[in-house]
């Protein structure tokens, strides 16, 4: 079982296999399942992600009314304009937003690694798909590669906003996505690790400050920015740019930053955007209406 990114990359490179293959083999061993069983379980997750994006792009609204409809706005903008940041990037952003809007509306999603950060991995996947034209198998492998990096973060640091702030949720999700993009684009396992490191470095310190404690504001847009961060970092890694700080040390730094983060910034809705005048106003409105006793 690999314990850190260095071991993961070493396993892949010494055996000349992809990161996704290392993850698949480990899962088969740990759960004592066949390759087909492991693969089909992940394919079902892929189907859920695809459906969530479809639903989100049709337009959804959350019960609180705080989020919904932005994915549609972005897609319409792309039809009528050439986005300054490029079509692929805005496509990723709109699909990440679509996923998190469906999540906020109590639709069905696949947590990657959590529900609040569920947009980054599928959002980037279904955007780069249009350019890289992967097979269905490569798309499933994208999820195993993401999962391998998330696995290291979950076991060595944290993937919970309550424990480590947003850097642990959207930061991890964005890093996982960046690593998977690199593999799908034909990069090496160490380039995947560089992409993860570059992404996470730029999400360090991000607090978890949901308005009214709901997984809506700013979570939906944080997934948009996490996705763009992932695409840019993947391109940088594919260009040969490396992180001066190794991936495992970045993960460790994220963990330590999270530990020293005051609890007001760890999913308690007591600080940051949640504590702004407008944040408090929205909170009162949401609970004034709906938090009646049964």
């Amino acid at each position: 079982m690999f314990r850190n990114v260095a071991e993961l990359v070493e396993l892949a490179e010494s055996e000349n296999i992809q990161i996704s293959e290392v993850m698949i083999r480990q899962e088969m061993e740990v759960k004592q399942l066949t390759r087909e069983q492991v693969f089909s379980q992940m394919e079902r997750n892929l189907d859920v992600m695809e459906k969530a994006i479809e639903d989100g792009l049709k337009g959804v609204k959350s019960h609180s009314g705080l989020t919904g409809g932005d994915a549609v706005l972005i897609q319409n903008y792309m039809k009528n304009h050439t986005p300054l940041s490029g079509n692929l990037l805005m496509d990723a952003v709109s699909k990440a937003v679509a996923t998190n809007e469906v999540n906020a509306a109590m639709g069905t999603i696949c947590a990657t690694p959590t529900a609040g950060s569920a947009g980054c991995v599928p959002g980037t996947l279904f955007a780069v798909k249009n350019q890289l034209n992967p097979t269905r198998e490569q798309m499933v492998r994208y999820l195993f590669t993401s999962g391998a990096f998330g696995f290291v973060v979950a076991n060595n640091a944290s993937i919970s906003g309550a424990a480590g702030g947003c850097q642990a949720e959207v930061g991890s999700a964005a890093g996982m996505a960046a690593a998977a993009i690199v593999e799908m684009a034909g990069g090496t396992p160490s380039q995947s690790a560089e992409a993860m490191a570059i992404t996470l470095k730029n999400m360090l310190g991000l607090i978890c400050d949901p308005v009214a404690g709901l997984v809506e504001v700013p979570c939906v847009k944080r997934n948009a920015m996490g996705s763009s961060n992932a695409v840019v970092a993947a391109d940088m890694a594919l260009a040969g740019v490396t992180s001066r700080i190794p991936c495992d040390e970045v993960i460790d730094a994220m963990y330590k930053v999270g530990q020293r983060m005051p609890s007001a910034f760890r999913e308690t809705a007591q600080g940051g955007l949640a504590a702004t005048p407008t944040g408090r106003e929205l909170e009162a409105k949401v609970y004034g209406i709906s938090l009646k006793k049964e």
Binding site: Q32, T108, C110, A111, A115, N155, S160, A162
Partner: protein, 220 residues
């Protein structure tokens, strides 16, 4: 290693919006349902910490009741679970508690009917993972790093042997085991941490074994 499977990271498939407040909550409700063995006629849900403050917005209430109706985290009927449960005659009450608990997302679930009652405390630890920490007054001490099952059984000779024989036959290795009882000859329970994954077929087999009354997977 707290997380053992790639599907802890890419998964679960779930109804939004929160892996800890919705999916984890549904799993707490479902663990209670499996241990009770049937749909209860009443449910008193006590919510603590972040659960108490934000349960409405996160659908923690419908998720726990959905679990009591045996819905999984991805079951779309979760959103209508309060209506369905009441239609089935379940009396439901939610209590927002101020008391401080060790874990920020804690729920105490009391369910029952004319034939029996069950009280369980569950915590939701992140990414949709949930653990049972207390059952009918028995405190459960789980490491959390291995799959675990819980068996309610009659305090009779042979009960433990019948459970471990089934695990041995299925090549499941026991890493840790704890047996407790309220009084000699009464209700007792086993908490078993294992190294391999336990599928539903094995749970069914355990439930049919001598002296075992209820079985549930409480951590995977």
């Amino acid at each position: 290693m707290k997380y053992r499977s790639v599907f802890d990271i890419i998964g679960p498939v779930m109804i939004g919006p929160s892996s800890s407040h919705t999916a984890g909550a549904a799993r707490i409700g479902r663990a209670a349902r499996h241990l009770f063995g049937r749909e209860p006629k009443y449910a008193h849900i006590h919510l603590y910490g972040s659960f108490a403050k934000t349960y409405k917005g996160h659908g923690t209430d419908v998720a726990i009741i959905g679990g009591l109706l045996d819905y999984d985290t991805y079951d779309e009927r979760i959103s209508q679970s309060l209506v369905t449960a009441r239609k089935n005659g379940m009396k439901i009450r939610f209590h927002e508690e101020d008391a401080h608990t060790d874990h920020p997302n804690t729920a105490r679930v009391k369910i029952g009917d004319d034939d029996g009652e069950l009280e369980l405390v569950g915590i939701s630890i992140g990414g949709g993972k949930a653990e049972v920490t207390e059952l009918n007054g028995f405190e459960l001490r789980l490491s959390g790093s291995h799959p675990a099952i819980l068996l309610i059984h009659n305090d009779r000779y042979g009960a433990i042997a019948s459970a471990t024989a089934i695990l041995a036959k299925n090549e499941i290795n026991i890493g840790r085991m704890e047996v407790s009882r309220k009084a000699q000859g009464e209700q007792a329970l086993m908490v078993i941490e294992v190294d391999q994954n336990i599928d539903d077929a094995i749970l069914d087999e355990l439930e049919r074994a001598d002296h075992i009354t209820q079985v549930a997977k409480i951590s995977d």
